[in-house]
């Protein structure tokens, strides 16, 4: 379990990648998360998270089209691996179980 642990930020990005499907590239991920979280994010932080997760085998990437808006640079599209989905599910499961346990506590303990 320990190995698979995701940071909160990484988890959010991973989910964004899954949600965005074919559109999951750096800027789009940022826009998606910024709108959902309603706060500004640092591009550098997103890049770091993406690279780390790619290294861990949670994401794969491939080059997309180059556009003039990007100064002739290509986009890089990210896809979550099945392994990532598994890790995400496990985490969500642990989380919801724990949340359930919290609900089951006596009110005074809360």
């Amino acid at each position: 379990m320990k190995k698979n642990r995701l940071g909160e930020f990484q988890e959010l990005i991973l989910m964004a990648v899954i949600l965005l499907r074919e559109q999951a590239h750096g800027n789009e991920i940022q826009r998606e998360l910024e709108s959902r979280l309603n706060e500004r994010l640092s591009m550098g932080a997103i890049q770091t998270a993406l690279k780390r997760m790619e290294d861990k085998g949670l994401l794969t990437s491939e080059w997309g089209e180059a556009t003039p808006v990007r100064g002739g640079k290509r986009r890089k599209y990210y896809t979550a691996t099945p392994y990532a989905r598994k890790v995400l599910e496990e985490m969500t499961q642990v989380r919801s179980q724990m949340w359930q346990s919290i609900h089951d506590l006596k009110p005074e303990r809360l």
Partner: protein, 891 residues
């Protein structure tokens, strides 16, 4: 794009990112930033958008995204290196001609250096194999008389060393030695083997010889070999020479000839004397024999402090104060002073300095082998230059190659090679080539060494390869060479911009100042070497054609008889032999003499009235009748010796002697008397001859005193031939010699060859310079050729266009060649003053010398110009004559 200036994000953050971040991330990140910038432009004002852009960009600089600063750490070093080597091999094989030329230049340079290094190593190792060599000194006597000062190693009698040992506690051992400048024959009476032994083969020495020095005895006991005065110790090779395979111990050897003839008993056999010692000898005889019986007992009859002189070696305790010992020795000599007007003091010369730093102390007559630190320096410097030229050459050739390799570099760079990887690659290539050259050089050294050995007349061997230290130095040299010669091409090649590398027409660097400098350096060294060769050659030829006033051509010298059982009968035969030979149809004149050209004694002479301390040191030798006729000396006063004159009482002198002894004129000196320094001699001058050159023309005319020695057997017989029919005359001479002197070996040589031996060192220098200059020119021309090719290649299109527009081949030739000719001129301008100074210094050693005139510099310049032009023309003519279509058609 509208408002393009305003809507562009600033560039500098990208540079920063490119510097800090991993290259593989850059495209995505840069793209993201740009896209975001455009998004922001819509949402914010430009300034804000720019600010956001910069902020976003800078926030990318975080460890996870940064490039790997440790660079290659993640790569496997060994495999990367082996890749370099592999590609280096491929490149070497691809350009075979270039590789071979380069390899040849480098390995020849290195091989020559190795050989010289071996020679230097040997020269510097002299006399240092003795365990106590740093405690042993040779005593030099400094003699002051009046204003004169002389120093020599043999200035004191045989009483000195034992007394010093007795009186001075710091002295722990001594050795006296004596060698005699006369020929002797040695016979093994049992098997009748007889040989002439040269001047320095017999050595008289104390038993201290075995204590002080490490010459191991193969047979015999160190303690007892010298018990008897007539014992003799011989070297292994001498034992084989006289006794074959027999055991020589207890056998007899008969020595006929001065100073102490007699029958000796072999008591020991020494291991052959190693080459690196200043005394080479074959026979070792106790010095007490010399003192007791030398010169028919004359040594013993003389004063043991001032009479017959010997050379002394002292062993002084390592801890002793050398100055104190010298003072004690001086006091000891002063206490026994007999010659009032002469003061003798000692200085101590360390054993290891004797070979290389004796200077005039090693003058003929002491028979030590001598080396010259100057020669070693010159050798070393020149071979160093040859190596430098070889390296420079490598640089030039590599840069030439670079024109073909810019594409390779461009592709490597495009594929992601960083500069220091490329540099590592080029240095690996240079390392590979240097290593190959090193291996070849070792082989070459083994081939060249016998040549040098022959040339120096010294049995050299590559002993260095047995020393581990040598290999360490050698490897260090290869690495140094690889770096020295590889760094510049590496810098140059790895610095190309990939885009420029891939489009060579955009790449038109002119030869850089650095490379021009290298070229000038090569020309300069070659010029100096050629000038040296030419100068030495001219000087030697000049010396050889000078009027000597003595005719040495067609003079055959045979060695006089030594084995003469009956003295009186022998002398009778000697005279008859000479007269008989003089009557021979092919022989003009015959004379006997103690010495032949180039050899003499030095003795002080004065007029009887002149004080002893003003006696002039003169060159002296004795001859029989007919000497002046045989050697064709020209009399200015008086005449030759005649039959009635008594031996050792009459002399012929030269004009220099007339002046040195203070006579008014040659005529006036006739029938005047000459005395030795402290009286004794009483010789009458019967003739004065024109100054003649018995000695090399290096020296000025010295006073000569030639004495009559008619009633003695002389060491040499000089015979003037008037024929070119040598073989028949020789047969007659041999028959006659063997008839009169049975049992004596017949041995002959020519007087002029003996005389010219004095120019041996000059001739060797000349040959050496010639060899090195050929080498330097050869290597230099390779470099020149490479440089010319390089520049011609660069200008192929230019030349094509010029030709199309009507330029003549000759114009193009000039165009291509003139920059080299300019370099050439610069190097000659730089070289001429150096050559002038050095040449003048060298020539000043000679009394008779050529003037340093223009041709001395002109001839080498023209020779070089010719060689250089030929080399340049080789390449330029091809370029100039090429069909311009070929140059212009292909892009």
């Amino acid at each position: 794009m509208e408002n393009s200036n305003e809507s562009r994000p600033p560039r500098w953050p990208i540079w920063l990112l490119r510097f800090f971040l991993k290259a593989s991330y850059l495209e995505e990140i840069e793209g993201n930033l740009e896209e975001r910038f455009h998004d922001n432009l819509l949402a914010y004002r430009k300034r804000r958008a720019k600010f956001e852009y910069v902020r976003d960009a800078l926030l990318h600089i975080r460890p996870a995204l940064m490039r790997n600063w440790a660079g290659q750490k993640k790569l496997n070093h060994i495999s990367v290196f082996s890749l370099y080597i592999k590609s280096a091999f491929r490149i070497l094989l691809k350009n075979r001609a270039y590789s071979i030329i380069n390899l040849l230049g480098l390995s020849v340079g290195m091989g020559v250096c190795l050989v010289i290094f071996q020679y230097t190593y040997l020269e510097l190792s002299y006399d240092q194999f003795h365990t106590d060599h740093d405690q042993i000194y040779r005593v030099i006597i400094e003699e002051t008389n009046g204003a004169g000062h002389e120093s020599y190693p043999n200035g004191i009698g045989y009483g000195f060393a034992p007394a010093a040992m007795d009186e001075i506690p710091e002295i722990t051992g001594y050795l006296r030695k004596e060698r005699v400048n006369r020929v002797a024959t040695v016979t093994n009476p049992d098997n009748k083997r007889v040989f002439y032994e040269e001047v320095n083969d017999l050595l008289f020495a104390d038993a201290g010889f075995f204590e002080l020095f490490n010459f191991p005895l193969l047979r015999g006991n160190e303690k007892s070999v010298f018990n008897d005065s007539y014992s003799i110790v011989i070297t292994e090779k001498t034992a084989t020479k006289y006794f074959g395979d027999e055991d020589p111990i207890g056998k007899r050897l008969v020595i006929s000839g001065p100073p102490s003839p007699g029958e000796y008993l072999v008591t020991g056999v020494l291991e052959d004397i190693p080459l690196n010692t200043h005394w080479q000898f074959d026979f070792l005889i106790p010095i007490k024999n010399y003192i007791e019986y030398g010169w028919g007992g004359a040594v013993k009859r003389n004063d043991d402090w001032n009479g017959f002189n010997v050379i002394n070696y002292l062993k002084i305790e390592a801890t002793a104060d050398k100055l104190a010992v010298i003072n004690k020795l001086n006091a000891m000599i002063a206490a026994r002073r007999t010659e009032e007007d002469t003061r003798k003091q000692v200085s101590l010369q360390p054993l290891k300095d004797i070979y290389l730093e004796s200077g005039h102390l090693s003058y003929q007559g002491h028979f030590d082998s001598t080396g010259s630190i100057r020669d070693i320096l010159i050798f070393g410097i020149i071979s160093g230059f040859v190596l430098l030229i070889a390296w420079v050459n490598y640089i030039n050739l590599s840069v030439t190659q670079s024109i073909q390799r810019t594409k390779e570099v461009g592709i490597r760079k495009t594929l992601g090679a960083i500069r220091h990887q490329l540099m590592a690659q080029f240095i690996s290539e240079s390392l590979l080539l240097n290593t190959l050259a090193g291996a070849l050089a070792i082989g070459l050294a083994f081939l060249i060494l016998p040549l040098l050995s022959n040339f120096l007349d010294k049995p050299l061997e590559m002993s260095l390869v047995r020393l581990p230290e040598f290999w360490a130095v050698f490897l260090a040299f290869i690495v140094l060479g690889a770096i020295v010669s590889g760094i510049y091409p590496a810098f140059l090649l790895s610095g190309h911009q990939p885009i420029v590398s891939l489009k060579p027409q955009a790449n038109s660097p002119r030869t850089s100042v650095f490379r021009k400098g290298l070229m000038v350096f090569q020309f300069l060294i070659s010029f100096l070497l050629i000038t040296a060769t030419y100068l030495v050659y001219e000087q030697v030829s000049f010396l050889k054609t000078r009027e000597l006033n003595v005719d040495m051509e067609k003079i055959l010298v045979i060695k006089g008889p030594r084995v003469v059982p009956d003295k009186k009968k022998g002398l009778e035969n000697f005279k008859v032999f000479r007269t008989e030979m003089a009557r021979h149809a092919n022989i003009e004149a015959v004379t006997g003499s103690l010495f032949t050209p180039g050899d003499f004694w030095t003795r002080p002479y004065r007029q009887p009235g002149v004080p002893g301390n003003e006696a002039a040191y003169s060159r002296t030798f004795y001859t029989t009748l007919n000497f002046a006729e045989t050697y064709d000396l020209e009399f200015v006063a008086g005449g030759p010796f005649t039959r009635e004159m008594p031996d050792e009482k009459v002399v012929i002198i030269n004009e220099a002697a007339v002046a040195a002894f203070g006579f008014e004129s040659a005529e006036q000196s006739i029938n005047q008397k000459l005395a030795g320094k402290s009286g004794g001699r009483n010789e009458r001058i019967v003739g004065v001859v024109k100054n003649f050159h018995w000695h090399s023309l290096r020296e000025a005319h010295e006073p000569y005193v030639i004495g009559l020695y008619e009633n003695n057997l002389t060491e040499h017989v000089s015979i003037r031939l008037n024929t070119s029919d040598l073989s028949n005359t020789l047969t007659d001479l041999r028959d006659s010699f063997e008839k009169f002197f049975p049992g004596n070996p017949f041995d002959y040589y020519f007087a002029d060859s003996a005389f010219n031996k004095q120019y041996q060192s000059e001739q060797k220098f000349s040959q050496l310079f010639l060899f090195f200059s050929i080498l330097a020119i050869f290597i230099g021309c390779i470099g020149l050729f490479a440089l010319v090719s390089y520049n011609a290649n660069l200008r192929v299109k230019e030349i094509g266009i010029r030709k199309v527009l009507g330029a003549h081949v000759s114009v193009i030739l000039v165009l291509l060649s003139k920059q080299y000719l300019r370099l050439f001129a610069v190097s000659i301008l730089l070289g001429a003053p150096v050559a002038w100074l050095a040449g003048n210094r060298w020539l000043n050693h000679y009394d008779t010398r050529i003037p340093l005139s223009l041709p001395v510099f002109l001839v080498p310049s023209i020779v070089m110009l010719l060689i250089a032009t030929l080399t340049i023309a080789q390449r330029t003519i091809r370029t100039a004559r090429a069909n311009p279509v070929n140059a212009l058609r292909n892009e």
